[in-house]
């Protein structure tokens, strides 16, 4: 039987990234994916004839440009087009538009509060300070604070140097930032309800926390630390949907001789003598390799595909307690035309960006209350985009594809999810939108509704948590996924992790995949093919 150098379990974008760098280093790599398509939560699927859905992730910003460059993804078909601005529509018929043009954006903010328009300058500069710090750690392996190894000590020195560039008061602010709620954080800057609501939305996306829960301020940063062509905080559409990211990485992987096998679900990781040496597929097929890498979330990795006997008790315990509460849903729609939004100025460019319908912190908190009670939010927070306004490849001319991310949606509803309950959840989202768009309901051709149940079953995200684990301080940096396991090495030799459950966490970023590849190549004594970060000095 042929023995591969490396098996990567799961063809999520991180698994593919990991495999591509290993193949680039000359290793014989095979990626095993349970689904019939690659990409996991980064996929484009044609679910209605002629319409391509980005059915999980839908916008791109966090993906490391260093990886894009190193894997030559542009030549492998990837194109990320910046999207323009965002808008929150208000119950009183007004709106707040965060326009792409800074002059208009400022005037629009002044319409709601002159003071907020000025405070936005302070807010932007402060957020940029934290972005610069955090960005420097994305393509680095977190140091182990309990280790005495020279490398960990050096990495700590680097960390300190980075922090040293902060003044004392900034350092206190930074620590506060990680522990504050987004509402309290924003109230240090803004006074107008709509501005507060608009900027806090990004802080609850994907988390089982509310706008007043400590820790949500960091999530804002997690959504702001990416960039499109150097514009930090901007988001973009992958032409052809988010699956184009995975497809390009897979194509790059193949160009280095790597292989991807779909419909190859892994049942267990084989371990002998304290070393991983291959996997067994659900079909019973055995595949052996010198190294096994898991692209699955931490719960699946340590509680499902690894045999309990191979996992130390303490780690099993940690894995069971790993916080990955599902809190989000998704509604994807094929539209017969462009919906009207009479509340926006006619011909307004605001439909080109993110659209929201929540105008106060109070409504955001109420949406969270429903989730805590195991109900979907009656008045949810949505992040809605219509990429077909730019992208001709996702729907027929004149028709549109709409992607609606919904916060909150519980892992379990009372009595358990049924298809009828799922459809009722979707209907409540559609109702909210049609309050602002009278012709919306007439345009629906096909609707895909996804609750955590569907996300778990189809993508294999435990509890449907979009980040493969909450982004709270206790699960970040050298705590991700668990203290002592943050350097991508598993509990047995030759076994590694490369998924979003690892530093720097969820989102279409590629960084966990690349960082993990760097550690594997180091252990194998191979040349490092992963890129260094561009450094923003």
């Amino acid at each position: 039987m042929k023995k591969h150098d490396v098996i990567v379990i799961g063809a999520g974008h991180n698994g593919l990234t990991n495999a591509a760098f290993l193949a680039k280093a000359g290793l014989d790599v095979v990626v095993l994916e349970k689904n019939s398509y690659v990409g996991g939560a980064t996929a484009s699927l044609e679910l209605h004839e002629g319409w391509i859905y980005s059915n999980c992730s839908y916008v791109c910003s966090l993906f490391r440009p260093e990886i894009y460059q190193a894997l030559d993804l542009g030549r492998h078909g990837l194109e990320v087009v910046p999207l323009q601005g965002s808008v929150s529509m208000m119950q009183n018929g007004d709106h707040f538009g965060s326009y792409h043009q800074p002059e208009i954006r400022r005037r629009e903010m002044m319409r709601h509060s002159k003071r907020d328009a000025d405070a936005a300058i302070r807010f932007d500069a402060d957020l940029m300070k934290w972005c610069r710090l955090i960005r420097a750690f994305l393509l680095r392996t977190p140091p182990d604070p309990a280790s005495f190894k020279i490398r960990d000590a050096m990495e700590f020195a680097y960390l300190l140097k980075r922090f040293h560039s902060l003044s004392e008061s900034q350092l206190y602010e930074f620590i506060r930032f990680f522990t504050m709620s987004i509402a309290e954080y924003l109230e240090q800057y803004f006074e107008s309800d709509i501005v507060l609501a608009h900027f806090s939305g990004g802080s609850i996306i994907g988390t089982g926390l509310g706008v007043y829960s400590p820790g949500t301020a960091y999530v804002l940063l997690h959504h702001a630390m990416g960039d499109i062509d150097g514009n930090v905080g901007s988001w973009g559409f992958a032409r052809g949907g988010m699956g184009s990211v995975s497809k390009a990485i897979a194509s790059s992987l193949r160009s280095y001789g790597g292989e991807v096998r779909t419909e190859a679900e892994v049942a267990t990781i084989n371990v002998a003598g304290g070393r991983a040496n291959g996997v067994m597929l659900a079909s019973g097929e055995q595949i052996s390799a010198k190294v096994v890498v898991s692209n699955l979330d931490a719960k699946r990795t340590f509680l499902q595909v690894m045999k309990p006997a191979d996992v130390p008790d303490k780690l099993l315990h940690r894995a069971r307690n790993f916080k990955m509460r599902g809190s989000s849903g998704k509604v994807n729609i094929a539209l017969d035309g462009m919906p009207d939004f009479p509340g926006l100025p006619s011909g307004s460019p605001l439909t080109l960006g993110h659209m929201h319908f929540t105008d106060s912190l109070e409504r955001l908190e109420r949406a969270y209350d429903d989730w805590k009670d195991c109900r979907w939010s009656a008045d949810p927070y949505v992040d809605m985009v219509i990429p077909t306004q730019y992208d001709p490849s996702m729907a027929p001319p004149g028709k549109h594809m709409m992607s609606i991310f919904v916060q909150y949606c519980p892992v379990e509803v009372e009595g358990g999810w049924t298809d009828a309950e799922r459809d009722a959840f979707g209907a409540s989202v559609i109702d909210q939108i049609s309050d602002y768009s009278p012709n919306f309901k007439d345009l629906l051709l096909h609707t895909e509704i996804r609750t955590p149940r569907e996300l778990e079953a189809e993508v294999g995200l435990t509890e449907g948590n979009i980040f493969q684990g909450e982004l709270t301080l206790d699960q970040l940096m050298f705590n991700r996924p668990f203290p002592g396991y943050a350097q991508y090495r598993g509990p047995v030799k030759n076994m590694y992790m490369c998924s979003s459950s690892n530093h720097p966490g969820g989102g279409v970023m590629g960084a966990p995949g690349a960082n993990s590849a760097r550690e594997i190549l180091r252990d194998l004594g191979r040349k490092d093919t992963t890129p260094e970060d561009f450094e923003d000095d």
Binding site: M90, Q91, N92, G97, Y99, Q101, E103, I104, R106, R107, E108, M110, R111, H112, S113, K114, R115, D116, A117, D118, A119, I121, R122, A125, M128, K129, R132, S165, L166, S167, S169, Q170, Y189, E191, S192, D193, I194, P345, G347, S348, P349, D359, S360
Partner: protein, 408 residues
């Protein structure tokens, strides 16, 4: 339901199709701007160059220039604690600023780093206008907590023109302004012209004789027409100018622009990229004898240490433009700084610039050289030019101070 926003701007603003906002003078301004070379100044549609840059520059220095000043940020500050508030805000003592007088100020954050600079107008007893380079409402309101003071952004509610040049006095007098003969530099005159109220201050950003004119937006066009009436009778050459001509004049006069010559504290992201008044050479604006002001403690500490760096005025030899140049200390061969704003001075026939220069151990570098890259027919060349520090403005004509000014 959202509560009504407390500081909403209720004046109608142009919609998204109009990226740059027209000023109240716009319809007249366009007639003088055949180049259509516009830029944004605080969101207003502002000419970079109206017609011919050299003519616009020489209008400032030899006849009379008119520039739309409306976009400058303006704040109205009044109330029982207005003076207390202002004296706590700015670094200089403004306690003795009399009604009808104007003074130049800077203000800092708690770390003693400069947030912005501007001119403070004591309009009438107890009532002030603060003109600033950048948006300051947030900082002003934060700084006023606990004080009985009203602070209002009035940028859009006041139209303003800057009239600068040796014939500015003569032109305004010919246009019908009465009482200008006794107005001293930094003085304010409240008067009427035709049918509207007009405020004139003898202020400017050119280092030359000049005035700034302030009216309600509704009177903007009448003011403009009154100013240009003498020119139409063939009396004086008056030229509308854009920001490029002003830039040349202000560098010659040694005036700094926050955001161009140094990074303002509020927008600074990287450590040590902001600047204190001392580092900007504005020591004379800091008064430690007055009651507490924001940044005082940090500035006291800084004063006790040797000077680390300074924004200096440099004359650069030769004729190659020292744009974005690195500066070297010729004695030690070390790189010590960079050029910020620079211009060819047509009146001095020399390059002049403002430069951020490191002082090692508080010592002024003895010999500074600029490394200049320039281009001839698309080919790049490098050269060196010796620089000479200038304590005084590069150019300042005595006529700017004379009262009454010369009537041509």
């Amino acid at each position: 339901m959202s509560k009504p926003p407390p500081n909403a701007d209720l004046t109608p603003l142009p919609d998204y199709r109009q990226v740059l906002q027209p000023s109240p003078f716009h319809t007249r301004l366009v007639e003088h701007c055949p180049l259509q070379n516009w830029m944004s100044w605080n969101g207003y549609q502002t000419p970079r160059v109206c017609d011919v840059l050299a003519s616009e520059y020489f209008a400032i220095r030899s006849t009379c220039s008119v520039m739309d000043l409306t976009p400058m940020e303006k704040y109205r500050i009044a109330g029982p604690d207005a003076l207390k508030f202002l004296n706590r805000l700015v670094t200089r003592d403004v306690g003795d600023l009399k009604a009808g007088r104007v003074t130049y100020v800077v203000w800092c954050n708690d770390e003693g780093k400069v947030l912005d600079d501007g001119t403070l107008f004591h309009l009438r007893a107890g009532e002030y206008r603060l003109c600033a380079q950048h948006h300051q409402l947030d900082w002003l309101l934060l700084s006023s907590i606990g004080m009985d003071v009203s602070i209002q952004a009035e940028t859009h509610q006041v139209a303003a023109l800057s009239v600068q040049g040796p014939t500015s006095y003569a032109l305004l007098t010919a246009a019908g302004v009465v009482g200008l003969d006794q107005l001293k530099p930094f003085g304010i005159l409240h008067t009427r012209l035709r049918v509207f109220d007009l405020m004139i201050s003898r202020t400017g950003f050119t280092g030359d004789l000049g005035y700034e004119l302030w009216v309600e937006p509704a009177a903007a066009l009448s003011l403009w027409d009154a100013l240009f009436a003498p020119a139409q009778q063939g009396l004086f050459d008056v030229r509308v100018i854009g920001l490029s001509a002003l830039e040349m004049a202000r560098i010659e006069a040694g005036f700094i622009v926050p955001g161009d010559d140094f990074n303002t504290a509020e927008t600074t992201v990287r450590a040590d990229h902001d600047r204190s008044p001392f580092e900007l050479g504005l020591d004379w604006l800091v008064n430690f004898d007055k009651p507490h002001f924001t940044g005082k403690r940090a500035l006291l500490r800084e004063r006790a240490r040797p000077v680390m760096r300074r924004l200096v005025k440099l004359r650069v030899s030769g004729n190659k433009p020292p744009m974005d140049s690195f500066l070297y200390d010729a004695e030690h061969g070390r790189r010590i700084g960079t050029v910020k704003s620079q211009s060819w001075s047509p009146i001095l026939k020399s390059n002049v610039c403002l430069a951020d220069v490191g002082y090692s151990n508080g010592l002024v570098p003895s010999q500074i050289w600029a490394e200049i890259y320039y281009q001839k027919e698309l080919e790049w060349r490098a050269t060196w030019a010796e620089c000479f520090m200038s304590e005084k403005p590069f150019w300042a004509h005595p006529r700017r101070l004379k009262t009454p000014p010369r009537n041509f």
